[in-house]
């Protein structure tokens, strides 16, 4: 029986290399892989073969992507190399779980981005608010700072179909997001950009304030649920209770 079971696992090497296994089966195969040199070498060969398929699909990326990628790299801290002894088996064969691949990613990116958001909060709108709103503003700023400083804070950023860039910092522990944008197309007074939590249904998360010098001041929205994405649509002034247009951007968060 055991022989057949192992043979059966061997046959998964191809599907594994093409990322065609789902959760449990992938984990089972990876456990097997750690003790099977023949499989490991076969998977490597298949990965190189798949890479050839990818090369054959090469296509010109949109203009401007290079600049955005290089700019993002310039403000992103790199992860240190794995040091022998510290990671042991993990170094020999990286297990492919979303958690291990992802957990540290957003956080490293965050410090610089968070600094930018705080600067935007201070320069973009808060300081020009009138005195009687200052207390509210300070409270809101503290709430924004709390999201940015949350240990599980993550950042996602994307170009929108209305031009410009949308950025969200999200914290599941705070159940909140901070959203900001730059370079969105200006809207006529009869329209407004509305923010949404996109889960099984779309839940309103607030309206974007009018942009100043092309930037919208950070919007804080509570009510983030695990699995939500964050989207923006164009709605009639005053906003809608559910989206009436296709989102100009949808930002994906990890769980």
């Amino acid at each position: 029986m055991r022989f057949f079971w192992r043979r059966d696992l061997h046959a998964l090497a191809g599907a594994y290399a093409l990322n065609a296994l789902d959760g449990a089966e992938r984990d089972r195969f990876e456990r097997h892989l750690r003790g099977c040199r023949a499989c490991e070498s076969e998977v490597r060969g298949f990965a190189a073969t798949a890479a050839a398929l990818a090369m054959a699909a090469a296509a010109e990326p949109p203009p401007g992507l290079k600049q955005r990628v290089l700019a993002a790299a310039a403000v992103t801290r790199q992860s240190p190399p794995a040091v022998a002894g510290a990671t042991g088996a993990a170094h020999r064969r990286r297990p492919r779980t979303s958690a291990s691949r992802r957990a540290w990613l957003p956080r490293l990116a965050l410090s610089a981005a968070a600094a930018g958001l705080v600067a935007a909060a201070v320069l973009g709108g808060v300081t020009v608010w009138t005195q009687h709103r200052l207390t509210t503003a300070q409270a809101e700023n503290q709430a924004i700072a709390a999201v940015l400083a949350a240990p599980d804070a993550q950042i996602a950023s994307a170009r929108t179909s209305a031009g410009g860039i949308a950025t969200v910092v999200a914290s599941h522990s705070a159940g909140s997001i901070v959203f900001t944008s730059a370079g969105l197309q200006a809207l006529p007074p009869s329209k407004v950009y509305e923010l949404w939590f996109l889960g099984k249904t779309a839940r309103p998360a607030g309206l974007l304030p009018p942009a100043r010098a092309g930037r919208t001041a950070p919007v804080l929205a509570a009510g983030l649920a695990v699995g939500d994405k964050v989207g923006v649509t164009v709605e009639p002034a005053g906003g809608s209770s559910s989206p009436t247009t296709t989102p100009i951007v949808v930002l994906t968060l990890s769980a």
Binding site: A48, T49, M55, A57, A58, P62, A158, G231, T252
Partner: protein
């Protein structure tokens, strides 16, 4: 991807070696990262676009992947395969993660008329007329129809192998063995060596 690379690109020969570029990227060399971008952005974007179809999402995931390359360059281990394979493995995984993310359905609902999944023949037809693409196409042609369909549906269209089995109306075990058998034949045809 040793022999495949050696056999396939006059163009690649004049470019700096990607493996050593990544070593420099790991040390924070922005110039080396730009060179990596120049070599890899097209295959990374093309692959992701093939899987996701949606241009905006594809651009977003491409950016994530290239940033992951920047961040994790120090984890690249040349003993385990070429730099191009490493980068493209990250790209495919990220694209698949996006396809299978739990809220993908909710998002699809919100987006207007999502395009239909890639037709198998279309993939083979649309590959670019580069030397690599020619060679890949020729080798894909050398597979049985079931092998070719299983591999392209899984890799280019991002289906899990049970989904591929359902689409092709064949048993799970059949898809498993066709994918593996097809990859072995492709690997040998492309002259991939480790």
């Amino acid at each position: 991807m040793g022999a495949f690379r050696a056999a396939s690109g006059a163009a690649e020969r004049s470019e700096p070696d990607l493996d050593s570029l990544l070593t420099h990227v790991a040390r924070g060399d922005a110039g080396a990262f730009e060179a990596v971008y120049d070599q890899m952005a097209r295959p990374v974007y093309g692959l992701i676009r093939k899987v996701l179809r949606d241009p905006a999402q594809s651009e977003e995931v491409t950016q994530e992947v290239l940033l992951e390359v920047w961040r994790t360059a120090s984890r690249f281990d040349p003993a385990r395969g070429s730099a191009a394979t490493w980068v493209l493995t990250i790209a495919h995984r990220r694209a698949i993660d996006r396809v299978r993310s739990e809220t993908a359905a909710a998002e699809r609902e919100l987006r207007s008329a999502a395009p239909p999944p890639t037709a198998v023949d279309e993939v083979a037809e649309r590959v670019e007329a580069s030397l690599e693409a020619e060679q890949v196409r020729r080798c894909l042609d050398g597979l049985t129809e079931l092998q070719r369909e299983s591999i392209t549906l899984a890799y280019y269209s991002g289906y899990s192998y049970p989904q591929v089995a359902a689409l092709l109306h064949v048993a799970l075990g059949t898809v498993k063995t066709r994918i593996r058998g097809g990859l072995i034949r492709l690997r040998d045809c492309l002259g991939v060596s480790l």
